[in-house]
């Protein structure tokens, strides 16, 4: 990487950290401004007022907000996420336990999303307005419009309950495979992963297919594609080397935007499929007014979003020579 590129990366990293700190601050203020005491417990579950007072004093929640905020930032800088009083354990442990599950879910969904989505989009672009394109186009439009949680219930009903092909919830067989220690248990995990990952992946793939089809057609009308055809480059090569390569550039930006979608989906899908991931953890934390846990999950979520964007920009800089010459400056100018 050139010196210019290095400077750009440093600037972007600093900006990313600033964004994440801003998000943490916002979430911190929002949750402290909310009515209700932190240890009010779940609705309908009264907390012991004596215990509650003790907790508030123990975690310095009776101190002024700026002091709490400062303490929180200092602790965060030392890698300390605080203590979750709804789970009675350090937040770090709760995160370490749930994040792998969300990663597995999101990873599988992302794989399905991109493989299926790109494949369909490219296939459609080669057959514009012919029957396969129209059929796939309408199907992707419909699937893209489905509420993910509703599709989840639908798949659960059909493949879980009626056909009984897949388990209806949980990450593994609680009796034979509480931990993954054999090939069978690995298979068991994958088997449990099918429905939740398919739900997220299918909706994502429909969006990706629509996007990729449009990107391919956009490129198809460019002069360099016409030139390639005119000078007798074989069709296959035109599509793969000229059309697809350029269409993939805009796909990289989309890749960076896929993370927020997966995150939103994770909250709902994990709740429906009893998948013990971070989305469900965050939802439960919010209901329990667990300050430290809520702020930490929001922090992780914003890190993921920001890192996704940064990664996409870096990949774009590597893939697009035009950006390398400019030192990877303003990306929007090129894509706009």
């Amino acid at each position: 990487m050139t010196a210019v590129g290095g400077m750009w990366l440093v600037r972007r990293l600093v900006a990313s950290v600033a964004i994440i700190v801003a998000v943490v601050t916002f979430v911190f203020i929002l949750i402290h401004a909310a009515p209700g005491k932190p240890c009010a417990g779940q609705p309908g579950e009264a907390a012991d007022p004596v215990v509650c007072e003790q907790l508030i004093r123990q975690f310095a929640l009776d101190r002024p907000l700026y002091e709490q905020y400062w303490r929180y930032l200092v602790a965060l800088a030392h890698g300390d996420f605080g203590y979750s009083f709804s789970l009675h354990r350090p937040v770090r442990d709760a995160l370490a336990e749930t994040i792998p599950f969300t990663l597995q879910l999101a990873g599988a969904a992302l794989l399905l999303d991109f493989v299926l989505g790109l494949g369909l989009g490219i296939y459609q672009a080669g057959r514009v307005n012919r029957l396969p394109d129209v059929i796939i186009g309408n199907a992707t439009l419909f699937i893209y419009s489905l509420p993910t949680f509703w599709l989840a219930l639908l798949l659960l009903l059909v493949f879980g309950e009626k056909l009984g092909w897949f388990p209806v919830g949980g990450p593994n067989d609680p009796i034979f495979c509480p931990v993954i220690d054999s090939a069978y248990c690995l298979f068991d995990r994958l088997w449990h992963l099918v429905l939740p990952a398919a739900t997220l992946g299918l909706v994502g793939a429909a969006g990706t297919a629509r996007f990729q089809r449009a990107a391919m057609l956009e490129v198809a009308s460019q002069d360099y594609v016409r030139t390639a055809r005119a000078k007798g480059v074989p069709e296959r090569r035109v599509v793969l080397r000229h059309q697809l390569r350029n269409a993939l550039l805009s796909f990289i930006t989309r890749f960076g935007l896929a993370f927020p979608f997966l995150l939103t989906g994770a909250v709902l899908i994990e709740t429906i499929f009893a998948w013990p991931g971070m989305g469900r953890l965050a939802f439960d934390a919010i209901l329990a007014r667990d300050y430290a846990l809520v702020t930490a999950t929001a922090l992780i979520a914003s890190v993921v979003v920001v890192a996704g964007n940064l990664l996409a920009d870096i990949l774009l800089g590597i893939a697009d020579p035009r950006l390398r010459v400019r030192g990877g400056g303003e990306l929007e100018n090129v894509t706009a």
């Binding site: 900006a15 964004i19 994440i20 801003a22 998000v23 916002f26 979430v27 929002l30 949750i31 909310a34 009515p35 209700g36 186009g137 309408n138 439009l141 419909f142 893209y144 419009s145 489905l146 509420p147 993910t148 949680f149 509703w150 219930l153 639908l154 659960l156 009903l157 309950e161 927020p260 995150l263 939103t264 909250v267 709902l268 709740t271 429906i272 965050a282 939802f283 919010i286 209901l287 007014r289 809520v294 999950t297 929001a298 979520a301 914003s302 979003v305 920001v306 964007n309 929007e332 706009a336």
Partner: protein, 308 residues
């Protein structure tokens, strides 16, 4: 279903089909609107939207039963679809069709209101940032960067769960307030490129004020992406509302919204799937129609096709 509600439903269907047909007839005269109707799905989407808006407005006529009163939770609960209850009854013995019809008011209302808030705010912020540039732009766009990095679902969950019992207008506002960041970037980019154009420079040279230049000269020419993002925005807001209601913290029962109907139905998913299926189908149809209309609008308003 009573004879009256069948009749009203029939009238609504005819009205929707006729409206779409009439619009298409008129539209075919103009090149731009011919492009809008070029795709068959767009016409279908338009008809579905008109139909749903009609039944939402005429809800008392189209719905045979009260959406909230529970007639007989013991004997009439979870009945499968029949001529009396055309889409069956839910776990509290309420008519699913009547609830979908009344739920259309809530869901479409929140969708429209939320999208209106999001698009107006995004447009104003984007226009101001793009027009004034420099420091104003820097401050606003850094704010937008943060907004885009906010885990929106968490923020909404927090806002809605912690201040419980929000009236649904506030819910729509909350969704709108967290959904404008993308639009503002879009509008800013558009304004930046329009600002260099001769007609804007000319307007400014003639002494037009900032407000006049922005609202009379710049924004009308940036209308295309704004309109498209509004159409997509309604669908997104509707989906978010449904997700929140599904998690049990959106529109408060017993008032029906399509999202909380699915939440009610999910508990008896295996024994009475219709209570989950139909409201979800309603959401999917609306969002699909809006996406189809947005596709059509994109084709119709694309300046590159204008030149061809």
């Amino acid at each position: 279903m009573t004879l009256g509600s069948w009749l009203a439903l029939f009238v609504a269907l005819i009205a929707a089909a006729e409206t779409a047909r009439a619009l298409r007839q008129r539209g075919l005269k103009h090149e731009r609107w011919r492009r809008f109707f070029r795709n068959r799905t767009t016409s279908w989407g338009l008809s579905i939207l008109v139909f749903l808006v009609t039944i939402a407005i005429a809800a008392p006529l189209v719905a045979p039963l009260d959406p909230i009163v529970q007639p007989d939770p013991v004997h009439l609960k979870n009945l499968s679809p029949s001529w009396t209850f055309i889409l069956g009854t839910d776990v509290f013995s309420r008519d699913v069709w009547s609830r979908i019809v009344y739920g259309a008011r809530v869901s479409l209302g929140i969708g429209a209101l939320g999208a209106l808030v999001a698009v107006s705010l995004g447009t104003v912020v984007g226009a101001v940032a793009g027009y004034y540039g420099r420091r104003v732009d820097a401050v606003l766009m850094r704010g937008v960067d943060v907004g885009l990095a906010l885990p929106r679902i968490f923020i909404l969950l927090m806002a809605v769960a912690l201040w419980d019992g929000l009236p649904f207008v506030t819910l729509a506002l909350a969704i709108g307030l967290t959904s404008w960041f993308g639009t503002s970037r879009l509008v800013r980019a558009e304004v930046l490129s329009l600002q260099q154009r001769d007609f804007v420079v000319a307007a400014r040279a003639l002494g037009a004020g900032d407000g006049r230049v922005i609202f009379r000269h710049v924004l009308p020419n940036a209308a295309a992406p704004i309109i498209v993002s509004a159409a997509l925005g309604i669908g997104n807001v509707l989906l978010l509302e449904a997700s929140l209601s599904f998690l049990g913290i959106g529109v408060a029962p017993p008032r029906p919204s399509w999202g909380n109907m699915i939440a009610d139905g999910a508990s008896s998913l295996y024994t009475a799937p219709w209570t989950t299926l139909f409201p979800g189908l309603a959401i999917s149809l609306v969002v699909m129609s809006l996406n189809a209309v947005a596709d059509g609008l994109r084709d119709a308003l694309d300046p590159r096709e204008e030149a061809m």
